[in-house]
């Protein structure tokens, strides 16, 4: 285990108890996540992607196997693992700024520092000018940006994103991808992201995990470096033959 190892999952399996029967959602998962990894997880619907993320987040305990975070077993959610869901779960009774300040405030940081942090990340997502609005006055894309800033504000060791752009339209999605890419590069974050969109995974991830259908296990891992080959201005991928070949290979894997 290197010093930069953040998550270490071994022989993980998760069962859901439904009425009388047990449903195995994921099985035989071995996975380590290192600092500065940008992992994108692909797989057919219902294969257990969210289940895996929830185990890492600490929302669900493993049924079998183990999960360690920086050497310590994960026993529940905490601020070290930030989470962003598909639909921004921003608190509507707090302003944009209060949402972002929530984590640092809970941590008990001094007021000045809390507000400094919030300002920093609001700036990074380009929403400092709407900091006093309630979240429901923002567009869907803006809301996801705030959710991102809220998770970043805690400076967690790893960021877990569950289809963060799934509810956005195609154009907004491209802009969000560009933003996440920039942030990841600037902040040197570690990111674990679930997506349905192969292009998105290719455009962002350094490691692409493909899961089998239920009960899900990781059937392939691809290393990708297209994220470095994205048009800096538009955020669009410069497609080439190599890209298309990889894309085709992944689609064939998922599309059963």
């Amino acid at each position: 285990m290197t010093a930069d190892r953040i998550i270490e999952i071994k022989k993980l399996a998760v069962d859901y108890q439904t009425d009388e029967t047990k449903l195995r959602a994921v099985t035989q998962i071995d996975l380590s996540i290192d600092k500065n990894d940008f992992i994108c997880v692909l797989g057919p619907s219902g294969c257990g992607k969210s289940t895996l993320l929830n185990v890492i987040a600490g929302f669900i305990p493993p049924s079998e196997g183990s999960i360690l975070m920086q050497g310590q077993p994960v026993v529940g959610p905490d601020w070290n693992r930030g989470v962003v869901f598909q639909s921004a779960s921003l608190y509507p009774w707090m302003s944009v700024r209060q949402n972002v300040e929530f984590g640092p405030k809970i941590k008990g940081l001094p007021k000045g520092q809390v507000s400094e942090i919030a300002t920093h990340f609001l700036k990074q997502i380009h929403l400092l000018d709407v900091e006093d609005l309630p979240p429901f006055q923002l567009s869907g894309g803006m809301r996801q940006r705030v959710a991102l800033a809220r998770a970043l504000a805690n400076e967690p060791a790893i960021l877990l994103l569950d289809e963060p752009f799934g509810a956005l339209d195609a154009l907004t999605r491209i802009h969000m991808q560009q933003l996440v890419r920039t942030i990841w590069k600037e902040n040197k974050n570690t990111i674990f992201m679930i997506t349905h969109d192969v292009d998105e995974a290719l455009a962002l991830g350094t490691r692409l995990l493909v899961m089998s259908k239920s009960p899900g296990s990781i059937i392939r891992e691809f290393q990708s470096d297209f994220s470095y080959a994205v048009d800096q201005k538009t955020g669009r991928l410069q497609l080439d033959e190599k890209y298309l070949a990889l894309r085709e290979e992944i689609l064939n894997l998922i599309d059963i």
């Binding site: 600490g58 959610p77 905490d78 930030g82 869901f85 779960s89 608190y91 509507p92 309630p134 998770a151």
Partner: protein, 257 residues
């Protein structure tokens, strides 16, 4: 909008027609004034009661004492039912203890247990306020339990991932997330308590608009009954309007959950 205006006009016309029918059938003696007093009689009675009071007590005192009972009871219900309901929803064990008791007494007609309250608490204000309190308690409690159960799971999970737990989680996330439902239930509860007002003022009272109507019906003073009903109707509508205004101020995010 123009359509809205037209509809308001239609509403006004409706009430004018009601008043006209009322006027006509009483004016031309189509019914005994014992059964329906004329609008004039009712107006005169109203003026008289406002000026001279009823049964030696000023009208404003009658209304005041009724509203005092109502607000006292509703206040008590809020202060107790909200925490208990939220706890019942949050900790399943508390729910297992309290739920079935509330479910059992909730459908009971207040008049059925009023006598028990009187035997236990006496005929003073406490039994009256308790009756209204019990009427108001159940709707708030039940709404709070279900509000907690229906909180968007993402609110709780993301708060936990931001480091919130225990008290922080409860006061900063659970309580505000439930506030819209709580407020709706408070409006319901005050309404339910209001419809119980006359029952509460039935026994050993000598003041309150509810009592006034009851007393008037004992002596078949139809015009006083009508005054009482109209005053109660308008007051009821105004109370709800007031609560709704407060709700819109406090729960500014309502409907955007």
């Amino acid at each position: 909008m123009k359509e809205g205006k037209n509809h308001r006009r239609l509403t006004i016309v409706t009430w004018l027609v009601i008043f006209l029918v009322w006027y006509v059938i009483t004016e031309f003696g189509l019914v005994s004034h014992l059964i329906i007093p004329s609008p004039k009689e009712v107006l005169n009675t109203f003026v008289d009661i406002v000026k001279n009071g009823y049964n030696g007590i000023p009208f404003w005192k009658h209304l005041g004492i009724s509203l005092l009972r109502l607000f006292l009871a509703s206040g008590l219900a809020i202060v107790t039912a909200v925490p208990l309901g939220l706890l019942s929803g949050y900790f399943k064990k508390v729910g297992a203890i309290v739920d079935s008791i509330v479910q059992f007494y909730r459908p009971l007609p207040p008049l059925a247990y009023y006598i028990v309250l009187i035997l236990w608490l006496g005929i003073g204000e406490s039994s009256k306020v308790t009756l209204l309190f019990l009427a108001a308690f159940a709707p708030i409690y039940i709404a709070c339990v279900s509000a907690v159960k229906n909180i968007q799971l993402e609110y709780l999970l993301s708060a936990q991932s931001l480091g919130a737990k225990g008290k922080d989680l409860f006061y900063r996330i659970v309580v505000p997330a439930c506030l819209p439902d709580i407020f709706t239930s408070i409006r319901t509860a005050v309404g339910v308590a209001y419809t119980t007002l006359v029952s509460a003022e039935m026994i050993a009272a000598t003041s309150g608009v509810g009592w006034m109507v009851l007393d008037a019906s004992r002596y078949l003073k139809s015009s006083v009954i009508f005054v009482g009903i109209i005053v109660m109707g308008i007051t009821g509508v105004l109370i709800d309007l007031g609560l709704r205004t407060i709700e819109n101020k406090i729960i500014f995010w309502k409907g955007y959950q």
